[in-house]
């Protein structure tokens, strides 16, 4: 697959602080790439360098296999951190300005306003918008040039649950169009739902990079409930149990490699117990994320 972005030992120092440290990333066409990391781990700084607003201290990066220029940026739709617009201009005028800078067809504007459901407020001044509307306008501005790549830095920051779900739908729809998306977020659940790949940063250093669907591989967690007093003791007899926890009356059994819920079910059935509740869970990205950060703690 074609490489869209690659960085080579990309580094940024702010005085004594090393915000980004020798970062090597690679993003391929069609990926939805999640960037994770605690506060201050260098996500925004990295994206700022990629979008030409932060000058790298050393290292380099290339978009589409070529050194970046401002022309490259016109093919990318990006919103970093906060929506940024002229407060005294209407949403429509702001987008017209974005389109002019990007050399985009202004006919797109009404379409992207529909996409983010802002069409009926387009003639109101930006400063009168609610936070959620500002976020939506920002996504609209990123889409206005029909970009090949979309960069979103915490696009659901401050949105209500419905807003978050809507933005997630928008992102999924855009991804389904074959666009490459780079998404920095703290909502690991979000990332797990929409991303195909992810990277973890910690104090500017890359800790992990890989596909999201590998996260669930390996151990399974099975939640069980049955009308039996000694279920906990029984479960310990099961050869496939690694660890067992009880939470809200439900047993969570972490399975050993190679064991699955059906093995547990059969074991219980053989003992004459019928489970009233049986649920298989993959390891969550959140868990893996915390493990990655903990592993490197030293």
């Amino acid at each position: 697959m074609e490489t869209v972005l690659s960085t080579n030992k990309l580094t940024k120092n702010f005085g004594k602080i090393r915000a980004v440290n020798q970062l090597d990333l690679e993003v391929k066409r069609g990926q939805v790439f999640g960037m994770l990391g605690p506060n201050g781990s260098g996500k925004t700084t990295t994206l700022g360098m990629l979008m030409g607003v932060v000058n790298p201290s050393s290292g380099s990066f290339s978009w589409f296999g070529e050194p970046a220029t401002h022309h490259t940026r016109k093919k990318i739709g990006a919103v970093l951190e906060h929506p940024i617009f002229y407060p005294y201009l209407s949403g429509q005028k702001n987008l017209e300005l974005n389109a002019m800078i990007k050399g985009a067809d202004p006919a797109h504007i009404s379409k992207v306003l529909e996409t983010v459901e802002l069409a009926d407020r387009k003639d109101d001044k930006y400063k009168t918008y609610s936070l959620g509307m500002k976020q939506r306008l920002a996504i609209a501005s990123a889409l206005v040039s029909d970009p090949i790549i979309l960069i979103l830095d915490e696009p659901t920051n401050g949105l209500d649950p419905m807003g978050i779900a809507e933005i997630r739908e928008i992102i999924k729809r855009i991804a389904a169009d074959g666009k490459t998306i780079i998404l920095a977020s703290h909502l690991l659940d979000e990332v797990q739902k929409v991303c195909t790949h992810f990277a973890v940063l910690k104090r500017g250093t890359l800790m992990h990079i890989g596909p999201v669907d590998e996260v669930g591989k390996g151990e399974e967690i099975v939640e069980v409930q049955a009308y039996h007093d000694d279920l906990g003791v029984l479960l310990q007899e099961f050869v496939g149990s690694a660890t067992i926890r009880k939470e809200n009356g439900i047993f969570e059994v972490m399975m050993k490699d190679g064991f699955h819920s059906k093995d547990l079910n059969r074991f219980l059935f053989d003992k004459g117990i019928v489970a009233s509740y049986l649920h298989t869970r993959k390891k969550s990205l959140e868990k893996q994320f915390l493990e990655i950060l903990a592993d490197h703690k030293s």
């Binding site: 016109k74 970093l80 906060h82 002229y86 050399g103």
Partner: protein, 267 residues
């Protein structure tokens, strides 16, 4: 070039403050320039009131060719109004952080600066054109006789006036890019005259020959004050090309420093 100018104008033309400041500026420029005769009449009435009899309405304020330099110099006094507009325009880009989004959207830093410089050129051109128009009209109205080409003497003060305005706007733009905050930039802009004055005063005793090379000094000297001629003093009544060269170099440097600053800073 037109594209970048259009972008900057699009930012400004829906901005109320822009119209207010520009409105006041051009209104004062045009009305002020055209009403000098009325002012003299009022002044003479006032003096008569004190029992004196000088007919200052005889002063050929608006006669060709005097009118050229008289208005070019007077118009130059108002350039601070336009400079404040420029400061507001650039510092807004920092306080709203829109400069950041402009660059993310695909402007280069050079293009961003150029869009502002082109607007400065446009504002300077409109100032020059308005003033030139007023000078021509009032000259035709008030001159007792038309004697050309003698009447055109001093017309070269108009390109000089253009440079004066553009140089000062470049200075304001540079200050805005270095300081980023509107209030502080405007204060610095006002104080820069004072600072330069203090340096000039101190240097006057042992190195007076370098005074013409000071930036604001050279800008001010592009169109020298003409009114001393009405009390029979010698005045410089043509453009000094040395001053033009010095002011041009400063104008270039202001824009170049602004470019360097933009280039190397994180936005």
């Amino acid at each position: 070039m037109l594209h970048l100018l259009k972008i900057d104008l699009k930012k400004m033309t829906s901005y109320r403050t822009f119209w207010v400041i520009c409105g006041i500026y051009f209104f004062t420029l045009i009305v002020g320039a055209a009403s000098g005769m009325e002012f003299l009449k009022a002044l003479s009435r006032l003096i008569e009131g004190f029992g004196q009899q000088i007919n200052i309405t005889r002063i050929p304020l608006y006669h060709f060719p005097d009118v050229w330099q008289n208005l070019a110099w007077s118009g130059g006094l108002l350039k601070m109004g336009l400079a404040i507009m420029v400061v507001v325009s650039i510092t807004n880009e920092y306080s709203y952080r829109t400069i950041r989004q402009n660059i993310i959207d695909g402007m280069s830093r050079e293009e961003f600066l150029l869009s502002k410089v082109y607007t400065n050129l446009l504002l300077s051109s409109i100032s020059m054109a308005s003033l030139f128009l007023i000078a021509s009209v009032t000259g035709l109205i008030y001159s007792p006789e038309l004697d050309f080409p003698y009447g055109f003497t001093g017309i070269s003060f108009y390109p000089a006036y253009f440079l004066e305005v553009f140089a000062f706007l470049s200075f304001a733009l540079m200050l805005g890019i270095f300081v980023n905050r509107s209030g502080l930039t405007i204060i610095l802009l006002l104080f820069s005259y004072l600072i330069e004055l203090i340096i000039k005063e101190n240097i006057d005793n042992y190195l007076p020959s370098i005074i013409p090379f000071f930036p604001l000094e050279s800008i001010m000297s592009l169109v020298p004050m003409p009114f001393a001629r009405y009390v029979f003093m010698e005045i410089q009544d043509s453009v000094n090309w040395g001053t033009v060269a010095i002011a041009s170099v400063w104008t270039f440097l202001f824009n170049y420093f602004a470019y360097l600053k933009l280039k190397k800073s994180d936005i």
